[in-house]
């Protein structure tokens, strides 16, 4: 089931990554269209269960996009996201899925280029297998 329809789910923090995605659209910066953005109030809202369920429902890759470290309005949101992604990676490795398919990325609200690049990178990664 996984990897078959090659969807990527990006949990985007409303304060930074989501705005970066909007900005990419506004600036006409294009990126692969198999990403589905889910808006969350903070990267710290994304739990390990969400990441695993995303894979279970057919996602080929999951990105958790939060603010720059130190710039999180909730102080520890992005750091928690990083720890949880590490836990999710171990859980996926146990299942036999390449841990690289989960990635935490730090954004400023204006990093439109970076948003597009991260999507392309993940699309490349899921093509390899």
């Amino acid at each position: 089931m996984t990897g078959q329809n090659k969807k990527i789910i990006a949990f985007c923090c409303a304060e930074s990554a989501y705005r970066a995605a909007d900005r990419a659209g506004r600036l006409g910066i294009h990126y692969p269209d198999n990403v589905r953005v889910i808006r969350v109030p903070c990267a710290g809202r994304v739990s390990v269960l969400h990441i695993l369920k995303a894979f279970e429902k057919g996602a080929a890759g999951v990105l958790v996009m939060g603010c720059q470290e130190g710039a999180c309005r909730h102080l520890t949101g992005n750091i928690r996201a990083k720890e949880r992604a590490k836990y999710a990676e171990d859980l996926l490795k146990e299942v036999g899925i390449n841990g690289q398919r989960v990635k935490v990325v730090n954004f400023g609200p204006d990093m439109a280029q970076k948003f597009a690049r991260e999507i392309e990178e993940m699309v490349e990664k899921i093509k390899e297998e």
Binding site: R26, R36, V37, I38, R39, C42, R45, G77, R80
Partner: protein, 551 residues
């Protein structure tokens, strides 16, 4: 009766050409809980809003999905629109089919748009209403620290009709006001300013002053702090709606910067002021006085100010030679530039150096050697007195107070503002504010602006509208909560407390006023007891579910 969902699609004036709207309508109209699918060109304009209103009122729709531009732009407007129609604003789900779909890709993205809308529809099915309500808020404010900032805060709050209590550790109010020599360029001297302030405090029935008193413990959250105050060996507990920290700063001479032991003819600014104000007959009038500045510490706004003030005071009272050794004089404080000019006019000599000068004691005088950058040569000066450079540090107790209240402190030990640019006076805990020098070295003018912005914040916070919140938007279910304390320990805003439910079981309670809606607790709760309405696990997973469905 299945949930009735009204679905509005906006083609942004027909500009979203790579989305086939009729195809989407035909696909989604089939779903039985979709009441209607309305395509329009300009939902953001007056006309579009009327269209939404008429369709919603026409059919008994209880959930609304709008596929349009980014929620960052249109969410608030549509929520207010729904509220106007008597529909709870949280029953709205938005699909971003413009910035993150049509504009983000060239080729036809009807399939992606459909999937984004299905995601929004799946989420909409599970949305629950969240009522707004007023949280009872204690209208009294606690001011910790009775220096300039503390007293000024109390006075300004009182003018807005807010009762305050000042807790001052020393036996009298005033703090640094009692030590400073003068605010040159400001007519009233610190003494007179303090005097008038204290008179105003005494006459003001809105302000209660507790001197030689300390904060022992603080519990509760924004709008409802329970504070135990220790005075004269006894502890009493009071409750307050907000707390202002105005605990100020302390200065310290850094002995290791000098080969010579401080004391004797190396003195502090404060000692110089005492000598000038009450010169003892016995002391010989010092011929030359030197000031040492910013050897080791760049942030030295206050030392620069007190150096300039005291240099002019010396010129006025003693007329002795005055030298100022500095690396680069920071004159960004209010009126500091003018002060510097006046000092130059009065004959104060400023010596600029790269490396810190060498300082030796020599038969009762202080010898200072430094390479003057402007002259480009080694300069040696003998002074009768050297006023040493002082480092500004947070006042004692900042460390323990901050850990008691779980507040962040910055690398130099001062209180850490939540966001140094946008909310410099707010802490990351709602209802707790920092003013004046307890958050970094600020001059008088900056301290006053701190006070007024904190007072404005508090006024708004304690006003009736300020206490309106979305009630229980993030809620811990008492049945499922195991009181494992995980959420309480990790909440960055300290918005969760343990409370007794019907007087026997301990559960976690999230204080709506203090909660900043980040959801970190909901993600970490091992019992999945915390529901974040609008971003609950079920709602997020419903969006994920839509991704599998495809066309």
């Amino acid at each position: 009766m299945p949930v009735k969902i009204g679905l509005f699609l906006c083609d942004c004036g027909g500009s979203l050409r790579n989305i086939d709207f009729p195809k989407i309508r035909e696909n989604l109209a089939k779903l039985e809980d979709i009441a209607f699918v309305k395509i329009s060109h300009n939902l953001c304009l007056e006309e579009g809003e009327k269209a939404i209103a008429s369709r919603i009122l026409g059919e008994n729709v209880i959930r609304v999905v709008i596929a349009a531009c980014s929620p960052e732009l249109c969410e608030d407007k549509f929520m207010r629109l729904l509220e106007g129609l008597g529909l709870n604003p949280n029953l709205l789900s938005i699909a971003n089919i413009r910035e993150q779909c049509s504009w983000a890709h060239e080729r036809d993205v009807t399939k992606k748009a459909l999937e984004l809308i299905r995601m929004a529809v799946n989420k909409a099915r599970l949305l629950q209403a969240v009522e707004r309500g007023e949280v009872p808020v204690n209208k009294e404010v606690l001011v910790v620290g009775g220096g300039f900032s503390g007293v000024k805060s109390a006075l300004e709050l009182s003018q807005l009709g807010i009762r305050t209590t000042i807790v001052e550790r020393e036996s009298a109010l005033g703090g640094k006001l009692r030590e400073l020599g003068g605010f040159y360029g400001v007519e009233t001297s610190p003494k007179e300013m303090l005097g008038s302030m204290i008179k105003a405090i005494e006459e003001d029935k809105n302000i209660e002053v507790l001197t030689s008193a300390e904060v022992a413990r603080v519990q509760g959250g924004a709008g409802d702090f329970t504070v135990r105050i220790r005075k004269g060996g006894k502890e009493s507990s009071r409750s307050f709606g907000a707390i202002i920290f105005a605990t100020g700063y302390r200065t310290e001479i850094l002995p290791q910067d000098f080969e010579v032991e401080p004391g004797g003819n190396i003195i502090s600014q404060q000692k110089l002021v005492q000598m000038l104000q009450a010169p003892k007959k016995s002391e010989r009038r010092p011929e030359t006085i030197g000031f040492a500045l910013d050897f080791s510490d760049e942030n030295c706004r206050l030392p620069t100010l007190s150096t300039l003030n005291n240099a002019l005071l010396v010129k006025e009272k003693l007329g002795s030679e005055v030298y100022v050794f500095c690396k680069n004089l920071k004159v960004d404080s209010e009126g500091a530039e003018k002060l510097y000019q006046e000092a130059r006019d009065r004959g104060v000599v400023f010596l600029k150096f790269e490396k810190p000068p060498q300082i030796y004691g020599e038969n009762g005088q202080v010898k200072v050697e430094a390479k003057d950058v402007l002259l480009g040569e080694e300069v040696t000066l003998l002074c009768d007195l050297l006023v040493a450079e002082e480092k500004t540090l947070p006042s004692e107790g900042t460390e323990s107070l901050s850990s008691m209240l779980n507040l962040e402190i910055d690398s130099r030990g001062f209180y850490q503002a939540e966001n140094i640019h946008l909310y410099p006076v707010a802490s990351e805990r709602k209802g707790i504010y920092f003013v004046g020098n307890c958050r970094g070295d600020l001059d008088l003018a900056r301290a006053s602006t701190d006070v007024s912005s904190a007072v404005m914040n508090i006024y708004e916070f304690l006003s009736p509208e300020g206490a309106i919140v979305e009630v229980e938007k993030v809620k811990a279910d008492p049945q499922k909560c195991r009181a494992c304390l995980t959420c309480i320990r990790i909440c960055p805003h300290k918005a969760i407390q343990l409370v007794r439910v019907d007087s026997e079981k301990w559960v976690a309670k999230i204080y709506d006023l203090a909660c900043d809606r980040c959801g970190i607790c909901a993600a970490i709760c091992p019992a999945k007891a915390i529901k974040f309405e609008g971003y609950s696990d079920e709602q997020i997973l419903a969006e994920v579910e839509a991704i599998g469905e495809g066309l």
